[in-house]
Symmetry: C2
Subunit: 143 residues, 2 copies
DNA sequence: TAGAAATAATTAGCCAGCTAAACAAGTGGG
DNA sequence: CCCACTTGTTTAGCTGGCTAATTATTTCTA
């Protein structure tokens, strides 16, 4: 490392992209009454009805607290409901409401595809694959 | 777009990397008593003594509220001090303390370089340049 | 010159993220 | 069986992010 200025590093570029990406996601999600991160949680629940908070914590790679609170807010807004598990009283299972199911559909069609389209715009198919490969290496480095 | 599963998109990969990168940054910054984002703010101030909050807002690409609050916390923790500008009573100028100046040095040597090294590990010089180019396109797409 | 418009910062409240600690339930070994 | 240990969730409090509204100051226009 030869003292590259901070603002010319991959890290700096990453933090800038992260912010821009998240902001764009939030813009697209606003029309669905959702916040960045919630949509992925809803999709996880959609893939596994009755998933536990613990499973969500692992699947989302976030802390248990974050899951608890996000789920709380989504329940309050009518997207899901939590039910304590009778087989294991420590566990809470989560189920989508009709509103939640509709939201998941909208997330996929109106939000995620649009976000992805914008994110990889002006990149050829080859460049997209290349970008993915490099990014996977970065993710591996940081995990 | 041919209905790529969400978890195979560049966007999803991005959000995962963002989280991992930010967490790693926070780990490295914890020893310096700083939080992700604060270090870049301190560096901006270091580059321009007496920078205004408004200039920081533009330079950091964040909201004025975020700058106000982060600066508040950094002042409280002794890294900087704010002084209202006499020429324009609306403005606040920010100056690093000795503690703040030392922190900026440490940020560069003990945190940012380490983070960058880990982020681009296992990538050749060519791959790094390529990654930067592709990422710049992504940033441009999202801005 | 006076008042409207613009500007800089702050307040209030919402969000996802985190660590540490606490609480309740479950497990397993002596 | 009993209790130490583990597990799942929640509480408490901190952070950077945001929007909308507010306050004080400055600028601009008629």
């Amino acid at each position: 490392m030869n003292k590259i200025p901070v603002n010319e590093t991959v890290s700096y570029l990453l933090s800038r992209i992260c912010k821009a990406h998240r902001n764009r996601a939030n813009e697209l999600l606003a029309t669905l009454d959702l916040h960045a991160g919630q949509e992925l949680l809803l999709q996880q629940i959609h893939q596994q009805e009755g998933i536990t908070l613990n499973e969500l914590t692992c699947g989302m790679c976030v802390s248990a607290v974050t899951v608890t609170r996000t789920v709380e807010r989504l329940e309050k807004n009518g997207f899901l409901k939590k039910i304590r598990c009778m087989a294991d009283q420590r566990s809470v299972r989560v189920y989508l409401t009709e509103k939640g199911k509709k939201a998941v559909e909208s997330v996929t069609e109106k939000m995620w595809e649009e976000l992805e389209k914008e994110t990889v715009a002006n990149l050829s198919t080859e460049e997209r694959l290349l970008l993915k490969r490099l990014m996977m290496q970065v993710l591996k480095n940081l995990s």
